[in-house]
């Protein structure tokens, strides 16, 4: 028998899955950014370090925001 909170939980799971996918995309982007920055730095191109660090920080904040969203959705579903 289905518990009364089951449809709401299922909806929340979908929302959480979507947020997780977005975090994953941001993470892949951040990994690429780190490798590209390291490659440039080792090649002597130091000018890219500042914009790359700023962009990486923005991506991290995006991940953090999505994590907060997941946490909130999780709590609400309970």
């Amino acid at each position: 028998m289905q518990s009364p909170g089951e449809p709401r939980r299922r909806r929340s799971l979908t929302v959480i899955d979507g947020a997780m996918s977005m975090i994953l995309v941001l993470l892949v982007l951040q990994m690429w950014l780190l490798t590209a920055t390291l490659e440039s730095y080792l090649a002597g191109h130091r000018g890219v370090a500042t914009p790359a660090a700023i962009l990486s920080g923005i991506l991290f904040l995006g991940c953090l925001g999505l994590y907060g969203f997941v946490h909130g959705a999780d709590r609400a579903a309970r």
């Binding site: 799971l13 997780m20 920055t37 002597g44 191109h45 370090a49 790359a52 990486s56 999780d74």
Partner: protein, 174 residues
């Protein structure tokens, strides 16, 4: 029935009960939350990595190399080539006389995968035989092929009749 633990998790349930769910749907919640936390921690790691590169680039200072006599100016004919090492014995370089009063010297390592480049007098360019990366003789810029960066230029100065290497210019943009 009395409950032990912190009842602050909502619905009067202790926090630990959330992590040991009985229902399958609840268990999925926990797994997802932990995985999300792990991904955010990885993101922190990436950010710290980028920050460390930034700090290292701030602390970086241009290295100073001792001057070194490379060749006599009259030693090379126009189009002539001389190989030498600078700034250390392991750094092979190539000196070319492009015109009567124009000498250029570059690191001989291709910026793609470090194969030795050679000077093609007919084409007036440096060529890497490994993957056909070509560089302009006048400034070391990439003309074609997989290399993404120009050849590091050896800074030359004339001291009387002698060519003296005084530094290495990586020809970086930033």
């Amino acid at each position: 029935m009395s409950q032990s633990g912190d009842p602050s998790a909502g619905d009067g349930q202790p926090v630990w009960r959330e992590e040991f769910a009985i229902r399958t749907a609840d268990e999925r919640y926990v797994a997802r939350r932990q995985f999300t936390k792990f991904m955010v921690l990885t993101s922190v790691g990436m950010f710290v990595g980028n920050l460390s590169i930034l700090i290292k680039s701030w602390l970086w200072r241009r290295p100073q190399y001792a001057p070194q006599v490379v060749a006599g100016a009259s030693e090379l004919p126009v189009g002539g080539v001389k190989l030498f090492t600078y700034p250390t014995e392991k750094d092979r370089c190539i000196l070319v006389r492009l015109a009567e009063d124009q000498f250029v010297a570059y690191s001989q390592k291709c910026t793609h995968l470090s194969c030795a480049v050679y000077f093609s007098a007919e084409a007036g360019r440096f060529e890497c035989p490994c993957h056909e990366g070509f560089f302009r003789a006048a400034d070391g810029a990439v003309l074609q092929g997989p290399p993404q960066r120009p050849l590091p230029r050896i800074v030359l100065e004339m001291a009387g009749d002698q060519l003296v290497a005084t530094g290495v210019d990586l020809q970086e943009e930033g």
